[in-house]
Point group: C2
């Protein structure tokens, strides 16, 4: 691989929870980087980060920063992506955007490589990385969708606080100590830092992630619904979601009910999941084996278990889907997309 093409890569939001994981993965995967540019808000500019044993200084992200950049990975919030991604595209960069800014834009492909890598090439400069809870669900459901068709999905999530950033992790750990020590619990960040009301997350289950829409669903739930339909390319797919934050640090879990379009054999379903790329089946009730957030944390795959036939609906089944929300749910999916782009350009 010594004569492989190398690329100029920019990481925007390099000091965030997802940005850190992106850098770790680019290093581990030996992504063919000629020049790495680490970008952030003015606040973090000047900090240094080690990459491949070399100290890199973080620069403030500006339009000009993207001059000569081949691939730009954005995870600094929707406003930053909206402000800078078009300028990066103008300068010839392909942007992989981890925010919700462009996900539902009809001109922007929304990609989970195991599901719809074939539409990456339709991009016009920006490729969107889906919401964390969507990614793991569609990766696990894709083999069933291809084999049987899917008519309905009803999902309830058990989401880790790391999805709300490092400050939410710190808040949960601090609140946990406050409860253990019998002190008053303070809530400053969750459920939504920009909204007035805060709720304790330690030893609790909070059924709000992101703001509410008028229809009573949260944006997190709407993201799961709309993004799943877009990624599957299926406007007839009926999806319902209830998104809940629980006191877990890393790893989103999902209780998923699925109605297929044809009858199925439950052992064939397990076999399909077992053979699916990026999916690990952990499903043995005899040994109490099923996916757990604490096991999935730090791993790249989507883990599936508790696969069982519904007792009443002849075409329905239930399953439990777990993945590290910062890895497959964010950084790893983005790096996978970058690897697809890089390998296309090698040809």
């Amino acid at each position: 691989m010594s004569n492989q093409k190398q690329f100029n890569v920019a990481v925007v939001g390099a000091t965030g929870a997802v940005g850190e994981q992106i850098l770790k993965l680019l290093e581990q995967r030996k992504f063919p980087i000629r020049n790495l540019k680490l970008l952030s808000s003015a606040r973090s500019a000047g900090k240094t980060v080690m990459f491949n044993g070399v100290e890199h200084t973080i620069e403030e992200a500006k339009q000009e920063s993207f001059e000569g950049v081949d691939f730009a990975l954005f995870s600094a919030g929707g406003d930053v992506s909206r402000a800078l991604a078009p300028a990066a595209v103008e300068r010839g960069a392909v942007c992989i955007d981890n925010t919700s800014a462009y996900r539902m834009d009809p001109n922007t492909p929304l990609i989970v490589p195991e599901v719809n890598a074939d539409v990456i090439k339709e991009h016009k400069g920006i490729i969107a990385n889906p919401n964390c809870s969507t990614i793991q669900m569609v990766a696990a459901l894709k083999p069933l969708y291809d084999r049987y068709g899917i008519s309905r999905i009803i999902v309830s999530t058990y989401q880790a606080v790391s999805g709300a950033g490092s400050s939410a992790i710190n808040e949960m750990l601090r609140q946990t100590k406050e409860v253990l020590e019998g002190r008053e619990v303070e809530a400053d960040i969750l459920p939504v830092s920009s909204l007035p009301v805060k709720h304790q997350i330690a030893f609790n289950a909070v059924p709000q992630i992101d703001k509410f829409q008028d229809n009573g669903f949260t944006y997190e739930e709407i993201k799961m619904i709309q993004e799943t339909r877009k990624i599957m390319g299926d406007d007839d797919l009926q999806v319902t979601a209830t998104c809940v934050r629980i006191p877990v640090v890393y790893g989103h879990s999902e209780s998923v009910y699925v109605e297929l379009k044809q009858d199925f054999d439950i052992n064939e379903v397990r076999q399909l999941l077992n053979d699916a790329p990026g999916v690990t089946l952990q499903d043995d009730i005899g040994t109490q084996t099923y996916p757990l957030a604490t096991d999935a944390a730090g791993k790249l795959d989507v883990f599936v278990g508790r696969v069982r036939r519904d007792l009443y609906h002849p075409l329905a089944l239930n399953m439990w889907i777990v993945s590290d929300n910062l890895l497959k749910g964010a950084a790893w999916n983005a790096v996978q997309i970058a690897e697809h782009l890089a390998s296309e350009r090698q040809e």
Copy 2:
């Protein structure tokens, strides 16, 4: 009320998590007690407990213990109920059994007073108290069942560790400290103390409560499915459940999807819930108001929020149901049944 009839009451399992709550409620509710007998296993016999300012000594539960008892409240495990409830009935006691021993027995009414108090009188000496996660769900769904009919329920639970007893609470708190201090986490009790494999519950979500059946469902899930059908008295009602333990001390939360038999107005649904006995509606997205386990802990009601119309199925809606699993989910429901029995005998 000075000339009201008084009763001889026995509490079996008086030192357990539920037994303690039963005693507290009998006291708070000024239940008309002539004589209170506290019973337990040989292990706890001899301990003393205060009730209404008087010290009571706990005796070992034997068949003869129930001589002269009017009402016996059992919460000492299924084996104890199976061994002693028939002997108590022979001696003229009416047993309110909080274990799963008699719940599905066709001769035993399974009671949630707000739902089916009318069948209490059909008892033949034993009345069963349903599973905690079932009670709060049927209490909240009853007004919708009566008004519209219900065809399907799909529920995912977020259950507190107190449902597995005081030792499970202690295990979770100990594991939490172990994680915070960076020590190795030991798991001895959860998910099921009698099974060989244990999993960490601190900062985790464990999709197993009780043992597995061959069909892939856990007994907890089967309890929710079967008990809901029995309490509603509806063999056509389709129920699916996924039961998950999360690191919460008190209060079960449930994400519930419901398909009604007729079209509905969502504001009428809210009004019905608001007016339902034993149900408190907490549903205002403008003020981020919805039920939370930490708020429900210590309260008697079932709390309902996140009520919203499904985006695709014209007869479906979603809701979030929370209640204290030791109170309405166990002790309070049992004491409510005892109050019904007592008030019948006043007449």
